[in-house]
Amino acid sequence: MSIIQIIFLLLSVMAVGSALMMITSKNPVNSVLWLIVVFFAISGHYILLNAQFLAIVNIIVYAGAIMVLFLFVVMLMNLNAETEPIKNRRLQLIGVTSGGALMLIIISAVSKIDVEQLVQINAGDSGLIKVLGMNLFKNYVLPFEISSVLFLSAMIGAVVIGKKEEIDIKK
C-alpha cells in the first residue's frame, strides 16, 4: 500500500463517516460541523488530485463562507435536538432503502466500465491557478460573466427576501 493509498483511504473514511454523522446527528449544529469536516476531507482529496487551487477555494468558499452562513442561520434560529422535526420510522426506512438501492445499482453500472483506457494525464500543472485562469478567461469568459450576473441577482434576491417588511403602524 502506497502512502497515497493510505491517505486516500483515510480521507475517504473521514468523508463518508462525517457525511453519515451529518445526516444522523440530531442537533443541527453538529450536522453543520460534520459537514465542514466532509468538506475538509474533500479538499484533501483535491490536493491528492493535484488541484491545489480548487482545494483552497473549496475551503474558502464552502467551509469559510457557505457553512458559516449555515451555522449562522442555525444559531439565529436557536435550533437544537429538541426542536428537530423527526420523520416517522417507516418513511426513514423507505428512504434509506431506496437510496441504498440507487447507490448499489449505479455502482453496479459503473463497475462495467472498462477502466483500462483511463490514463492519468494530469502531471499537476492543470490545477495551477495560472492554467485555470487562462482557461477560464479565454474559453469560458461568457459563462463566467453570466455566472457573475447570476450571483449578483442571487445576492439582490437574498437581500430582498430577507428584508424586514414595513410594519404597519395601525396594526
Binding site: 457525511a19 459537514l35 474533500i42 449555515f70 422535526p85 426513514q92 434509506v96 469560458y140 450571483f151
Partner: protein
C-alpha cells in the same frame, strides 16, 4: 489512485446526500445534503480532470484537464448563489411559521 475508487467514493457521498434529503425534515439539513451532493459531483469532476480516456480530443486540447476544474468553479458559484437565496427563504419561512419543517409547508396558502 484508481479512478473507480473515486467514482465509488463520490457515489457513496452522493447517496448519503440523497438519503439525507429523504430521511430528514429540517429544511436546513436538507439544504446541506444538497450541498453534499454537489460536492460529490465536484469531487468526481476533479477526479476525471486527472484521469480520463486519452482521446484524440484530449491530446489536441492543451487545457482539457482544467476544463473539469472550471466546471467545479461554476458549480461552486451556483451553490453559493443557491445558498444565499435559499437561506434567506428559510429564514423568512422560520420568521413566518416558526419552524424549519419542510412538511409544514405542504400547501401554497396559510
Amino acid at each position: 489512485m484508481d479512478i473507480k475508487a473515486y467514482i465509488i467514493l463520490s457515489l457513496v457521498l452522493f447517496t448519503i446526500g440523497i438519503v439525507g434529503v429523504l430521511v430528514r425534515r429540517n429544511a436546513i439539513i436538507i439544504f446541506m445534503c444538497v450541498e453534499l451532493m454537489l460536492n460529490a459531483v465536484n469531487l468526481l469532476l476533479v477526479a476525471f480532470s486527472k484521469m480520463h480516456a486519452m482521446s484524440t480530443a484530449a491530446k489536441a486540447s492543451a487545457n482539457f484537464a482544467s476544463d473539469a476544474q472550471i466546471f467545479v468553479f461554476f458549480i461552486m458559484v451556483v451553490a453559493a448563489a443557491e445558498v444565499s437565496v435559499g437561506l434567506a427563504i428559510i429564514v423568512m419561512m422560520y420568521r413566518n411559521v416558526h419552524t424549519v419543517d419542510v412538511n409544514f409547508l405542504n400547501r401554497l396558502k396559510n
